[in-house]
Each structure stands twice: as structure tokens, then as C-alpha cells.
């Protein structure tokens, strides 16, 4: 059955479908409707909804709830996402499954509260101090918003990590017809027995109250959970283990959409709301006889650098349109080898139009010819 729904509503419904039973948040545009929806959806399902005193408390409560076994989520936007960073690092350090929705708006600071942006890409990965593993997803349609919310829960449960889903003000408030899909739901693995079980040795998770008297700390700790704050080797080993897991499963975690890449000499690499304009730009360019293609990224981190490297090898020019001043462009540049990378960025609260992308593509192609 088709339903007309808003991005924020799709996100809340996706969370409910994924089995989310705990939500803590603090209102902020453009994410507030997610919270409002959760406040209606959770009580009838026996779940917990709480409006906390701020975003630091919201993510704190989410992590606390997750350690009792709850599937917990919060939703915010730039200013709140920045406040959450210390505790997101804590979730990462303590291998706590949880989902954080960041509905991006123009920054820095209060910026343009109701206007779309894609300026939190690097923050989502490196916002918390220190090196850590990170899973960051995004979406370009209302249906995506639903499915990627489910995927965010699935990945967080499977890898015991906080997962960030980046939306934007446009997608959050846009309405589209959606046929709600039936998706697989993954729950965190439980140890078969408590005998010799080490709570921080792998993906199996034991909650408070399950009989093991756990110690959970943001200090560097070993597999048993005991702090080893003056033992650097332990800290690096523990972090590398998680990074290795994500590396090993990169294929499963990396979601992309690829269009007309086979013979493309000009490849657009786009994500989120901008991928829509990039797709129609590719259609227009093809109609003009330009062999353009699109690589849409739905997973931003782990960054699919190998895929981009192989696309870059076949292409002559890469064009990265995004609503910031070059955050993904920087990463593409690092992966592209010698292939020229052209940026098309803006942070004025308006979307990139297909025509602007087409114009930039022509400019890039002319420049490429000039250098040959």
C-alpha cells in the first residue's frame, strides 16, 4: 500500500519497524518531527520515550538504555549533534549499539535552522576526539530514509557501534509516496554461556541484569572491561579490532547506487539530497551525448575508497556536488589517484540544481580537454 509520508515520519516508522524501543531527545529543527512521532509510536508499543534536558543527556540516556538491552535512538541536528560528540565517542569506546539521526542544517553555529546542508559529514566521522571506528549512512529519498533507519539499527546491533544517519532539512520535510517494505531486522548476538565470557572481546553482548556484573568504562580497557589506562597497546588493540571488523565486512556495510558507470568518462559522486539532482544531471548529459555516470553513496563511512579508486581508474573526470565546501570532495580526491576531481559546493541553504551540475560538468570537460 502506498502512503504519502514525510522524511521525518519515515525515519520514525523505520525505527519502530527495526524494533527501536527507547528514544531520548531534545527538540531541534529540522529533526523535531522524528521525536514527535516517536512520542506517539513508542508508548503504544510498550517502549520508552523521554524528552531529556539537552542533547548531552539524550545520548547519555540512549547509551544507558542500550546497556539494559534496549534498541535505542536519538535524533538531532547540527548544534545538538556537536553537543553529543563526547558521548558518541563513549558509545564507540564501550561498543554500545545505538542510532543517532542528524538532520543536517546550514552551519556553523545556529546557521540557517530550516535550510538543508551536508556540512556534518566529517563531524560524523571525526567529531569526537581520538581515532575510532565509525559507521555513517545517508539517504536521498523518503523511502531511503525508512530503509536506512532500519539499516542503521541493523548495523549498530551487528557491530555494537553507534551508527549515524545523516539526513537534511529538505529530505526531513519532503513528502513522497512510499510503499513500506518488509525488511530483515537484526538483533545483537547474545553469548551462548556466561562461562569465560568476555564482554568486550567481540560482537556478543550482555546487558546489565543478565547476571555478569559488567564494568563499562570510557577509559581504555581490556576485553574483560577492566581499565588499562596506562597501557597503550591494549587501547590500540581494542580499537583496531573494531576497525578490522568493519574493514572485513566493508562489502556488507557499503551501500551505493551506480548508474551508467560502465562507459562513463565523467562520473558524478553524490550522496543524500544532492544525489537526486546529480541523477537528473546525468540523464541530461546523456541526452546531450556526454558519457556521464553516477555513483551515489548511501554509506559515507567506512568511506568506499577502493570502489572510488576503481571508478576513478576508468573515468577521465570526477565531479562531486555537495551542500558544503568540499567535505566528500576531499575524500574522493584522496582516493582518485591521478584522475582530476572537480568540486561543486554551496552552503547557502539552497539545493544544487541539475542545470548547475550540468554546467559544471561542461566546464570540467572543457578544462580537461584544454589540459590534454
Amino acid at each position: 500500500m502506498q502512503q504519502l509520508m514525510m522524511g521525518n515520519e519515515a525515519c520514525a516508522l523505520g525505527a519502530a519497524a527495526a524494533g527501536c524501543n527507547f528514544f531520548a531527545g531534545y527538540p531541534i529543527s529540522p529533526s523535531s518531527e522524528i521525536m514527535e512521532w516517536m512520542s506517539r509510536l513508542l508508548p503504544v508499543r510498550g517502549g520508552v520515550f523521554v524528552q531529556m534536558e539537552d542533547e548531552i543527556a539524550s545520548i547519555g540516556a540512549v547509551i544507558g538504555a542500550s546497556w539494559t538491552g534496549a534498541k535505542a535512538m536519538t535524533a538531532t541536528s547540527g548544534p545538538g549533534f556537536t553537543l553529543m560528540q563526547e558521548n558518541i565517542g563513549y558509545a564507540s569506546m564501550t561498543e554500545t549499539p545505538c542510532v543517532i539521526i542528524d538532520a543536517q542544517r546550514v552551519g556553523p553555529s545556529t546557521g540557517m535552522p530550516t535550510m538543508p546542508a551536508q556540512g556534518d559529514v566529517i563531524q560524523a566521522r571525526y567529531g569526537s576526539h581520538g581515532d575510532r571506528a565509525a559507521i555513517v549512512l545517508t539517504a536521498s529519498t523518503v523511502l531511503d530514509t525508512y530503509t536506512m533507519t532500519v539499516e542503521a539499527f541493523n548495523l549498530s546491533e551487528r557491530y555494537r557501534q553507534p551508527v549515524v544517519l545523516l539526513l537534511d532539512a529538505m529530505l526531513c520535510h519532503m513528502r513522497e509516496n512510499v510503499t513500506v517494505p518488509d525488511l530483515e531486522v537484526i538483533d545483537r548476538a547474545r553469548p551462548a554461556s556466561l562461562d569465560g565470557f568476555e564482554p568486550f572481546a567481540g560482537e556478543e553482548f550482555l546487558a546489565f541484569g543478565d547476571g555478569a556484573r559488567l564494568i563499562v568504562t570510557g577509559l581504555t580497557h581490556d576485553e574483560a572491561g577492566y581499565q588499562r589506562a596506562s597501557n597503550g597497546d591494549t587501547g590500540e588493540r581494542m580499537m583496531r579490532r573494531v576497525l578490522h571488523r568493519l574493514e572485513r565486512d566493508a562489502e556488507v556495510i557499503t551501500h551505493t547506487r551506480q548508474e551508467s558507470l560502465e562507459d562513463a568518462t565523467l562520473v558524478l559522486i553524490a550522496y543524500g539530497i544532492t544525489a537526486r539532482a546529480a541523477r537528473s544531471a546525468v540523464h541530461k548529459l546523456r541526452a546531450e551525448g556526454v558519457s556521464a555516470g553516477l555513483l551515489e553513496l548511501l554509506t559515507l563511512w567506512p568511506f568506499p575508497e577502493r570502489l572510488i579508486a576503481s571508478v576513478a581508474q576508468r573515468a577521465q573526470t570526477l565531479l562531486v556536488p555537495e551542500l558544503n565546501l568540499g567535505q566528500v570532495e576531499l575524500l574522493v580526491r584522496a582516493a582518485a589517484g591521478g584522475t582530476p576531481v572537480v568540486a561543486l559546493g554551496r552552503m547557502d541553504g539552497s539545493l544544487l540544481k541539475p542545470e548547475e551540475i550540468v554546467a559544471k560538468a561542461h566546464e570540467a570537460l572543457t578544462n580537461a580537454e584544454a589540459t590534454i
Binding site: 531529556m52 534536558e53 538491552g69 535505542a72 558521548n87 555478569a212 556484573r213 577509559l219
Partner: protein, 273 residues
Amino acid sequence: MKSGPDLRQYLRQESMPNVWCPGCGHGSVMAALTRAFDNLQLDLDQTVVVGGIGCASRMPFFLNTNGMHTTHGRALAFATGVKLASPDLNVITVMGDGDALSIGGNHLIHACRRNIDLTALILNNGIYGMTGGQLAPTTPQGFRSTTSSLGSIEVPFDAVDLALAAGATYVARTTTFDFEEIPALIETAIKHPGFALVEILSQCPTYFGRLNRLGDGRALLDYERDSTAPQEEITREQLVGRFSVGVFREEIRPEYTRRYAALLERARRDGNA
């Protein structure tokens, strides 16, 4: 020494020795807490002790319960999530005065306001121990710290006044000098169906004692004795630089997780959304 139950079962041997300096008051509070556990015969599997960051907040490591050592000031935020998601767990937070009243002040007043069934212990030593003796929001006026070497001009917070105003339903204050009183206050706090705050004046000989020339841990207990009086015996005017001790409030008001359970029941009946 008085013979009593073997309290070592309440301590996590793997984490010993603890981190506290000789003469630090935090160890006394932990000893009192284990007595309270014993008197209540608390189910340790179903108990979670949540700390923030600081010397006091290290306590979860040393107790044989579930432990969560979180971020500076945020113990009550994490604890709120634990308790809401799993109301049957006993959730006890242990915080320093900087933890609870400075960086975590917002979480404290909101936990009081919700009247959520948490036990909050604030170990107030009037200084930042872990970071090396800086000014705390509880440092008495005129007292020295490494960031107030000429004597503090700041007006200190009174945790009890704050908790009473914010709506906590059990509020008590005592000192490590009054060690024998602590277990009973903590027991009542754990049993209390609502937000229960016990402030315990604790001594930091390493910084508070040394910087203010008050002497070692033992001498600081005398300072605690001399700077406190039972609430009945002290007027507001006499309170400058001194503390009243005792139980300031013990009353039953609707508790948050129970109010939430009632809301769930209504939602189930009406079945909207």
C-alpha cells in the same frame, strides 16, 4: 575492630587496589555503601552503580555490582536511561561535587524534578581532586585551591538547597566524620521510591587539606566535625562557611518510572497512534 559481616564480597577484587590517596574520604563512603548493601541484602546482579569522572566517580570499578563509569558530569543522564529502560534494576550514582554540581548541574536538577527512582551520592570534598586541586563550585569562600591561590571569592553551591528546590523527595547530608550514620542514610535512599540524594562531606587531604593547611585525613575529619551542625541546631545566618546535616526531606510523590508505566497502560487502552 568490631566484627561484622565479611564485606569483601561487595568489592571487586580484580580492581584492587583502589586509586584513592591514603586518608581520602571516598574509601570510607565506599565502606559505608557496602554495609548498606549488606543490610539490605541487595541483589548485586540487579544493581548498577553509575559514576561520572573524578576520584569519587571511580567507585563503580571497585564494587562487585554492575558498574558504569561514564563521562564527566553525565552520570545521572546515563543512569536515567538505565532506569527508564529497566525499572527493576537498582541504580545508584556516585559523583564528585564538581561532577554533580558544576558540569553535571543541569542533569542533577532535572533528575530531581522528574523524581526518578535513582539514588544519588555526592561526595563533596570542596575541591577537584582528580585534576589536581582546582576550585570547585563547593569550595568555601576564602579557601584556597590551585586556581584560587588568594582565596576563593566565589559563592559555593549548597547541594541540599538545590535538590530541595528542584524537587528531590529524599534529601540528606552527612560527613565521613559521622561514618556510622552513612549506611542507614544510604539504605533509606536506596529504598526510597523516588529521587534520593545523599550528600556526604568527604575529605581530600592531598589537595583541600594541604592547600588550606588543614592537615591530613584525620585532621580533616575534625574540620568536618567543626564545620557542621545538625539542622535543628543551626540558623540560616550561621550557615556561612558551615553546613547543616541531617535528613532534610523524606516524602512520597509520584515517581517517574511509575508515572511512565501508568502512561503505557493508558496508551495500551486507548491504542492511539
